[in-house]
């Protein structure tokens, strides 16, 4: 469950560092992160597995169910809430030497890989792009307020968490109806965008 809705194509990943996250494979969305114990699968593995829910065993920090990557008509176009089922082809994931997954999918005409690893204080996410047909953006964060701090660090949602984006990412804050968003343009490359999420 996320934002009151059962998400059916979600994978949750736990790490030896006890940093855990849930990822929606059909949106390319990092849904939530939490620390501590991994996950309670009672409602998937007991009896018939009703109601098919996996629950974090820790206080989850909700992020966003919206797709991480979108094409925008212009810099002011609204970020999409979701991407249609048939408009994103999830292609699975590969594991690195530490058994951490990189998720692979295609959307908006581009092939995308999305790697999330645990690091001190949180996670680091690396998005790589290839075969893109036009300009794409990544929405790094959304919140009621986003405050730019020094060292390319941003405080999201009144210090709920912070993100750190390299200067060369050309991230920018924009206003929306509900608050603010932190966006960065994406171009083809093995590491089109890398950022850290600290909480």
């Amino acid at each position: 469950m996320f934002e009151g809705k059962k998400r059916t194509h979600v994978i949750s990943v736990g790490t030896p560092e006890k940093v855990n996250y849930s990822y929606d494979l059909k949106q390319g969305a990092l849904l939530q992160v939490w620390r501590g114990q991994f996950i309670d699968v009672t409602e998937m593995w007991k009896d018939r597995g009703e109601p098919q829910l996996a629950k974090p065993l820790g206080v989850a920090l909700p992020l966003s169910a919206a797709p991480a990557i979108a094409a925008l008509a212009d810099k002011n176009a609204a970020w999409p809430d979701s991407i249609a089922f048939d408009d994103l082809q999830n292609k699975g994931y590969v594991l690195d030497k530490n058994k951490m997954p990189t998720f692979l999918y295609s959307s908006n005409g581009a092939d995308i890989s999305d790697k999330i690893v645990a690091q001190i204080g949180g996670i680091e996410r690396t998005i790589s792009l290839s075969n893109s047909k036009g300009p794409l953006y990544c929405r790094i964060a959304a919140g009621a307020t986003i405050e730019a701090l020094k060292n390319n660090t941003y405080s999201i949602g009144n210090k709920a968490y912070t993100v750190k984006v390299p200067a060369e990412a050309k991230a920018f804050i924009r206003k929306t109806q509900n608050g603010q968003e932190l966006l960065a343009p994406l171009t083809d490359g093995p590491a089109s965008l890398t950022y850290s999420l600290i909480w």
Partner: protein, 673 residues
Amino acid sequence: MRNSKYLLSLLLLAAGLTKTNAQTENQVFPIVTVPIPKEIALEVGGMTFLPNDELAVATRRGEVWIVTNPYMKDGQQPKYRLFAHGMHEVLGLNYIKGDIYLTQRAEVTRLRDLDGDGEADEYRTMYSWPLAGNYHEYAYGPILDKDGNMVVTLNLGWIGFGESLSKWDGWMLKFTPDFTMKPFATGFRSPAAFALNSSGEIFYAENQGDWVGSGSITHVEEGDFVGNPAGLIWAAEPGSPVKLRKKDIPDTGEPKYEVAKRVPGLKTPSVWIPHSVMGNSTSGMLSYSDNGNMGPFKGQMFVADQAQSKINRIFLEKIKGVYQGVVFPFREGFSSGILRMKWGSDGSMLVGMTSRGWSSTGKEEYGLQRLTWSGVMPFEMQTVKAQPDGFELEFTMPVDEKTARNAVSYKLSTFTYKYHHIYGSPVINQSARTIKAIVISPDHKRVRLVLDSLKEGYIHEIRTEGLRSENGNNPLLHNFGYYTLNKIPDGEKVVATAENKPIGGMEADHAMQGMDHHDMKNMAATDGKVTGSTDAGKHLTKKPDSWKNGLVKTILLGTKPGLKFDITNLTLKAGTKVKLTFANTDDMLHNFVLTTPGSGNIVGEMVMKMGLDGEKYNFIPNSPKVLAHTVLLQPGKSDTIYFTVPKTPGIYPFICTYPGHYMVMKGQIKVVK
């Protein structure tokens, strides 16, 4: 009198000494348990052998284990290693064109070990479909068809009835080698297993439920609609080869065969697997190919039953272009609920099991066993083939001519099921057939039974309890089968002569005297049949007039998923007047039966002997051990009954007597003074 008793016991003793014993399943087809390490919950969802003869096993907990030496050769224990994990309820696994493919709830996945460290590191999504998140949206496969496409089936969801909650729920899908998806057929309810027969045709196994009177296997061809209309909501989608629409399907309760006559595109089962008698929940399928070594049944099909922890055997033939055939019992007594079978390199059958969420006769939560053939030739009906005027029974060994010629050795009847939106069906239109002529082949291995009539579209029960083998005068290992007669073949009919006139009728009693009574007692399964209860006093649906004065205790009883009552312990005072409402909120049929102390299991077992009549009597046996009961309730229905708590204190079990449920779906009333 004293004298004759003495004589009788002498005779029995003599019989015991001179007779070879009747065969047992255990003697002919021994089961070997493959040990599973304690820390592994091997809830088998899929199994496949890898080229190096290791067994890959996928589980409902989303793991893939690789088992080395499941045969326990050289007395060595099998070894388990984890190959992949973190997936979503894998219910199918196959090694196809050099890769491991499996089906998770939402996708077909290909696993590869890229760095060669023995664990999968690429989980490639080959095709993904939508889900509603309903627990009943199971997905199965993939298998390879004869043209090189992969085949997958998707369950209907369950919301009090079967529903196609997401696109392609209730469909069989095919994937071309480049993974283009082609919807192939619909009407599926719970298509847990499918396999190719020896000609490469696809057959799938269905489970009793809404629009499904009983389990069955059905030949599936492109564009078929196999019965449950829920999936038809997608029939107009691009690429769908299915012409029927929901509005085309009548809900009249007529036999499916009759409905299919006027609804082209509705496919009827190739072989019905009569519910309760042959199984409750048809599951794994395995074609007896050259890879197997399981006795003289090559080319036939093995079909498992999850609830009854057993495997049936099916012989198929094609008459006038339509598949039909007969199902026989084959082997029971497995340790858990069978879901998957595969041939091992030594011709033995690996049997993978899980019973979580559904009860099974085998009490284990999960298991892995190996079925072997001892080499002893089983005395069985090898095939039953339809004839223009009856059936030809073929045996694995010559039959004794005297018993084979006797009409009393056989019992034949015909019946079918209702086709309707209601869950399951009673047996309907049942009638006995009589034998007009019996022709025995010169080698005594084939017996042709000419009947008074054949009923096209009907299931023909064929019982052969009186038959004996020519050598040893032994009974059959299994003495009944069910032939689904979709088409009556053309051909020459038998002309009745003095030579083929059966013994029987007036002569039957006389003939019986010539048979061995000792054996008959062991074999006459019909004699042990339990009849259904007709005692309305045990099912009072109105408050008895005599209760006018005095308190009535009201009890509301419900169900919980996984075959459970929501209340399992009640304490009541002796003599209390009770109004009990039992509401079935589960996805299967259930009832409530209160029994005398210590009789829960006994009553549950009695139901297994009610045979085809069980459902008609709500699975309530005619027994003083039954004190009170509700009717058999459809999902979502309830029944209110009145009964008086017994005067004698004690523990009174209550159970659901739907076949097999009593083992787990039970509670008790503690009666106190």
